[in-house]
Symmetry: C2
Subunit: 323 residues, 2 copies
Amino acid sequence: MINKLITKIRKTNAPIVAGLDPMMKYVPEHIRKAAFAEHGETLEGAAEAIWQYNKGIVDAIYDLVPAVKPQIAMYEQFGIPGLVTFQKTVDYCREKDLVVIGDVKRGDIGSTSEAYAVGHLGKVQVGNHFYSAFGEDFATVNPYLGSDGVKPFLKVCAEEKKGIFVLIKTSNPSSGELQDRLVKAAAGAEAAEENRDRPLYEIVGRYVAEWGEQCMPQEGPYSYVGAVVGATYPEQGRILRKMMPKAFILVPGYGAQGGKGADLVHFFNEDGLGAIINSSRGIIAAYQQEKYARFGEQGYADASRAAVLDMKEDIASALEQRC
Amino acid sequence: MINKLITKIRKTNAPIVAGLDPMMKYVPEHIRKAAFAEHGETLEGAAEAIWQYNKGIVDAIYDLVPAVKPQIAMYEQFGIPGLVTFQKTVDYCREKDLVVIGDVKRGDIGSTSEAYAVGHLGKVQVGNHFYSAFGEDFATVNPYLGSDGVKPFLKVCAEEKKGIFVLIKTSNPSSGELQDRLVKAAAGAEAAEENRDRPLYEIVGRYVAEWGEQCMPQEGPYSYVGAVVGATYPEQGRILRKMMPKAFILVPGYGAQGGKGADLVHFFNEDGLGAIINSSRGIIAAYQQEKYARFGEQGYADASRAAVLDMKEDIASALEQRC
């Protein structure tokens, strides 16, 4: 699936993932009204509104971007009906041949992480049958519990040729509270360079590189194991890029969170690959920005398309200036 | 809700939470057969089997324990039908007046964590209406993203009088890979004691104590913000217990994972409170242990009841020996 992602990035010439993180306040009134008319102001009504909203956006951008990243929290808050919409969104995007990154940030111990891995990327056994439950192509994974929590995902990735992005340095303002803590060098390690004090995110980066080595596709330079590093931390991106040459980096924080095209160049490898930049609000709620206000609520999906085209241009020009 | 938990612990005299982490291999054959006869070997069939299995256990133990902890991964792996069973289990346990700890280990940035907090502990707005989606009483939270990821939960906890348990030191063998890393003291801090190098779990412990101070119920010594510390790490439990006197500690790892009654005493405060010990497999799959084999598959729920009574005895005798 990492190779499909690369092929699609090359084809679209857009290392962009559209974050499908719908909030009710983004959903245009005509869609909300229609959904509530049918289902009332209920969880089902909210779920239907989000589904119609998503579908409009996907129809407008699926030929421009290689991938989408639905954020499951935005669906889970509406309970079972919300998760049905998550499922429908995943299925619909896969029908449109988009690579689907489930932004689920799961992580637990042993058999529990295995259940998450199976439910999101693999197949669960029921009697003599096997079923794909949510069936994303990639999932984001939280590393706080250590290797025990990640290895079940590696197993499923190898079996299914799917992938994960492990959280290393997240885009939010307080990510440094734990992730930037300076960790003391281990006593007695031999090489001085290896034995310096380093921030926690580098420790996680080393694990990601190590897990990635164990989980390579048959062909191609990139591993099934990628990383999440926020666009808001370009300097850390530069360091982590070098530490994990085989890891694709999923980069959130572009646009609404403050990351700019010029910040992104360090996340890419020399081959022009190795990073995929996420924008959520900036794409899906583009029509609410002054820049795209001309599209109006009715034209929200066209506004999303225009925002993708602008983002593509912004990244391409930043990458050109690097060369 | 923390006060309800305390009242129920006192009433049952059992600081025990039953982990409802069903795996298909635990479900007795007669239950599986009946569910598959009705729904086939499908996700719905698996979900129905797990629901019947859970119901039997809850009916057998609800008068003995204050709380249950369903692990959502075990339901999520069966997709939507699995999550419907999660929801039914939460609802049923609440009807039985059990405190429900959703073991969801969620955590994300700002508005995304807010969605998780709302979905699991709070109420989500749809038009002019508010709905409780999953409606647990407590949720477990992953702190890797820092305060941004936790504060939305604090807000919902204060509004709803509900609670969270933040992962500090998890029970699994590899938890030390990140959690035990020795973090360098900050330069220039004044008090020498405060300025020593300390493991990452102590850093998180300090945050938990701080978040907890901001989130106290009107009465009672314990905060809405608790912590997860594994029974398999009693020494760390002792240290963290002292650092966070107002935090209830949820202690996984008893029984099947190797934690023993004698390891648990350090997790409790002098008032005999402050900790609640989880057992999952040890309770729900008790009938598969030699010790309870006499109950047979048909008597699986009675075996669970016997296992709870034995666990209660084990903990009480360990606590008595401390005094």
